[in-house]
């Protein structure tokens, strides 16, 4: 049997949480906001000094999820063992309730390209990702979640729909899925997919967490609009609606508000989290999407 997705010590509840960034460390310490859990980027706590000391203090009040942005599960050349070791060191110190990574790649020939780059949806890429998820789960000795990407291009030789790729990774490795509802919306708009069909294609029992964020819209030279996943604004109504569909299908799931550019005051994040919490309560009370509308 695989160990449970959640940690033994500090489980992440099926409630709304917020992404914690450096700008809010001191405010969170000073005001101890009423928030069910928080998530941080693992890479931000790999050094010594003050960031880890803040997180040591903050995690006494709220369980923490570690969300990695740099392991590059989709790299053809394999995982960087030093990066895996740093992730494990942070996890041993922080005792996170959840750990997650992305279905993406960032590293080629040892060069870190500092973005979550798109994978071709091929059997080769699926094998590579599954091998690396197995490697990470064995190394950190727990199940992880993998997040569906937001993408701006697709590849000529892709053969597997993205939702089937996600489902296959979970089925083959036993990992869970971090369902980023904003990413589904962004990619569906950018590639002409049906976002509801994407959600319907994911296995409900594998969903361990949901992400919500804002995105930007840019006009391209060919006259088409492209949606950019910049985490720089509030969640838009269409994504809230898709989130309600996701909850109706998956049941109550830990849900995170992410904000990484133009970071607003903490209160704005808490307001967005309360909105997500209200939708979770509706699902718990059996209020359907149609009733709530």
């Amino acid at each position: 049997m695989s160990p449970a997705i959640g940690s033994r010590a500090n489980p992440i509840p099926a409630k709304a949480g917020i992404g914690l960034r450096f700008q809010h460390h001191q405010t969170v310490i000073d005001t101890r906001p009423d928030v069910a859990w928080m998530e941080v980027h693992t890479e931000n706590y790999m050094g010594g000094g003050t960031p880890l000391r803040y997180l040591d203090a903050i995690r006494r009040d709220a369980p923490i999820s570690l969300h990695g942005v740099g392991l590059s599960l989709g790299s053809a050349e394999g995982l960087d063992p030093a990066h895996l070791r740093r992730i494990k060191q942070v996890a041993e110190r922080i005792e996170p309730g959840l750990m997650s990574e992305h279905i993406a790649w960032s590293v080629v020939d040892g060069n870190y390209l500092a973005d979550l780059l798109p994978l071709p949806m091929t059997e080769e890429a699926l094998d590579v990702v599954c091998r690396h998820v197995d490697q990470m789960q064995n190394y950190v000795n727990r199940r992880i979640l993998v997040e569906n990407p937001s993408t701006y291009v697709t590849f000529r030789h892709s053969t597997i729909p993205e939702w089937e790729f996600m489902t296959a990774v979970a089925a083959r490795t036993g990992c869970g899925i971090l369902c980023d509802v904003n990413n589904i919306y962004v990619s569906a708009q950018n590639h002409g997919w049906d976002a509801s069909a994407y959600l319907a294609g994911l296995p409900p029992t594998a969903i361990g967490e949901i992400h919500l964020a804002g995105h930007a819209v840019r006009q391209l030279s060919d006259g088409n609009a492209l949606r950019i996943d910049d985490h720089g604004s509030a969640v838009i109504p269409e994504v809230w609606a898709l989130y309600q569909e996701a909850l109706a299908r998956f049941g109550p799931v830990p849900t995170l508000i992410e904000w990484d550019n133009n970071i607003p005051p903490l209160e704005m994040l808490l307001t967005e989290a309360r909105r997500a919490a209200a939708f979770i309560s509706d699902v718990e009370r059996g209020v359907t999407h149609a009733d709530a509308a």
Binding site: G70, D80, H83, V108, A114, L117, P120, D222, I228
Partner: protein, 263 residues
């Protein structure tokens, strides 16, 4: 059909080296290649932001546009080797010293070296300082064979410019202090470390700096004393130990022969 590795190399050629043809065959029919600009922009802006965080005084000295241009040129030559960006930018000072547009600011690379040392000190691992009881337990003969390992937050720098005064005045936005700095000064010798109350940048006298530099390079105590004339070695050493400037020590007999000795 490209393998995954071929595709990833093509993507790097496209988004980092601006090779317009690299990805044309790989994109799905109807996907406008201009969409790759989103990845290009994210990579450059993310790495530029990391450099700006590590080199705030340099960014201020040269202005936003110049900094962005220097960063873009640097990024094309020096992609990070780790997905841990606190360690990105170590080659930026040397890059600036050879960057023709920066030639009118001869002190810029030294200010950058100081900022890199400060950044290293900020993010250094929380290694425990040397256990003094282990040192005290050594015989007098063995104490002469001790080779210290510096704490990872410690850096030693020298400059022919008052890089520390420039750095402080810029970060304090003190234009008056900046205007009063005499650029034709004397060489300065700096110690950068993370102490109990944060990162400290301290000027040392040259002999004291030479002594500490020799110890940090792993010289034994007698040979470090030879490197520095007229220093009060026992009291300096006591201060370094009390300040936690060393993380560990070896006895020279424990070491493999260093390459220079083997040659």
């Amino acid at each position: 059909m490209p393998t995954l590795l071929e595709l990833q190399r093509a993507m790097r050629a496209s988004v980092v080296q601006h090779d317009a043809s690299a990805m044309v065959e790989a994109l799905a029919i109807g996907v406008e290649p201009g969409r790759l600009d989103i990845y290009r922009n994210t990579i450059v802006s993310g790495l530029t932001r990391a450099l700006r965080l590590a080199f705030p005084a340099v960014a201020h000295l040269v202005g936003d546009d110049f900094f962005a241009g220097a960063a873009a040129a640097f990024i094309r030559e020096h992609l990070p080797g780790k997905a841990y960006l606190d360690q990105y930018g170590g080659e930026f000072p040397d890059f600036l010293s050879g960057f023709p547009p920066a030639i009118s600011l001869p002190y810029l690379a030294d200010v950058a070296r100081l900022e890199w040392a400060v950044s290293r000190a900020l993010h250094a691992p929380d290694d425990a300082p040397l256990d003094l009881s282990r040192l005290a337990a050594l015989s007098a003969d063995d104490q002469d064979r001790v080779r210290f390992q510096p704490h990872p937050s410690v850096s030693l720098l020298q400059s022919d410019f008052p890089a520390d005064e420039i750095w402080r005045a810029v970060l304090d936005a003190d234009d008056q202090a900046l205007g009063n700095i005499d650029l034709i000064g004397v060489p300065i010798f700096l110690l950068v470390e993370r102490g109990r109350s944060g990162v400290a940048v301290t000027r040392l006298q040259e002999p004291a700096w030479q002594f500490l530099d020799a110890l940090c390079r792993g010289e034994s105590l007698p040979s470090a004393i030879d490197c520095a004339t007229d220093v009060d070695a026992p009291s300096l050493l006591a201060e370094h130990l009390a300040s936690g400037r060393f993380a560990a020590f070896l006895l020279d007999a424990d070491d493999a022969i260093a390459p220079s000795e083997a040659a």
